[in-house]
Symmetry: C2
Subunit: 216 residues, 2 copies
Amino acid sequence: MSKNGNISSSVIKRLPRYYRFLGELEKQGVERISSRELSEKMKLTASQIRQDLNCFGGFGQQGYGYQVQSLREEIGHILGVDKAYSTILIGAGNLGKAIALHINFETRGCQLTGIFDANPRLTGETVGSLAIRHTDEIEEFCKAEHPVIAVLCIPKANTQAIADKLVGLGIRSFWNFSHYDLTIDHQGIEVENVHLGDSLLTLTYRTSHLKDSEEE
Amino acid sequence: MSKNGNISSSVIKRLPRYYRFLGELEKQGVERISSRELSEKMKLTASQIRQDLNCFGGFGQQGYGYQVQSLREEIGHILGVDKAYSTILIGAGNLGKAIALHINFETRGCQLTGIFDANPRLTGETVGSLAIRHTDEIEEFCKAEHPVIAVLCIPKANTQAIADKLVGLGIRSFWNFSHYDLTIDHQGIEVENVHLGDSLLTLTYRTSHLKDSEEE
């Protein structure tokens, strides 16, 4: 059913949100929903929703709406929530530890299998159910465990060298919290950048342009 | 110079990135750059860059390019990096602590002035230079300090009640790490949502569609 060869990145970016909203509806016991109702909840137009979901073959029935549970399952399947991609996290500072503990990797098709840090004083410290390993062990670990995704929570200055090494070891997907632009040096990899600082700065801008702000 | 009344949200989302790239160029001693060179670095088209920067009155000179330092300063000013918005953080769990320690609020026009958590066992614990306060103290704090921005690092179930309270106390801007959709209940507020789980799920999707993936 999922004809997902040529889906635009903007549709893909909306899919996790559909997945979350449908999950909430399911929890509330809602069995079906019209695109109009879904659009009100999600602040998208009903036609946008129909267009988006049509990319995957279309699940709705005219006059009936969408069957919540099966639509959610299908979107989850498209996103890959039923995968278990072996995932390693590099950089067990405050942010790395928080990501390791706060994010539910399993429900997103990932399995956190290793945490690494260059600081030998952290080696052996446990984060959740994993003990931090020294970054010197990455190569051996990758050759044995074949992780697929790497979460980078390291300072920008160290990112290029670590990324080169990881690409050499077969990692193709990066969840990148460092501010280094990985795609500069590598082709054929997938990078999801998280720029928390940019996100805050966008809010600062919007705060200074609030209607009742002193500057408007 | 900044005629920034009607700037589209997609341009605004790109501004922090321009600001970062120009900062890097400045550090490298680059004094001026053409839109073509900037476009190669930023993986945008040169015409996109010219269009974006024209929104603010246009800084480039034909045949000369952009003056890096003054363009960066102007974008910084537009974004509000020279503000010092009093900012409070609610929820001093792993993620909240990591945000408090990892993010440089000052360089983004914000000043972290208070950290609150409902867990009395955390009260008094220091995070950076701030001691965690109990959430019961929020009202008194807001009346005295008039914070403008709130960072929400609390579980979804608690978000609505806390947000209602904060809006009542005058907070209009939220950096929202909880998965609760704040705009459902409140008008006239600015919310910057950070959905880390959605970001990871997008990467899972792209991982399963990598060219050399077993499933293609």
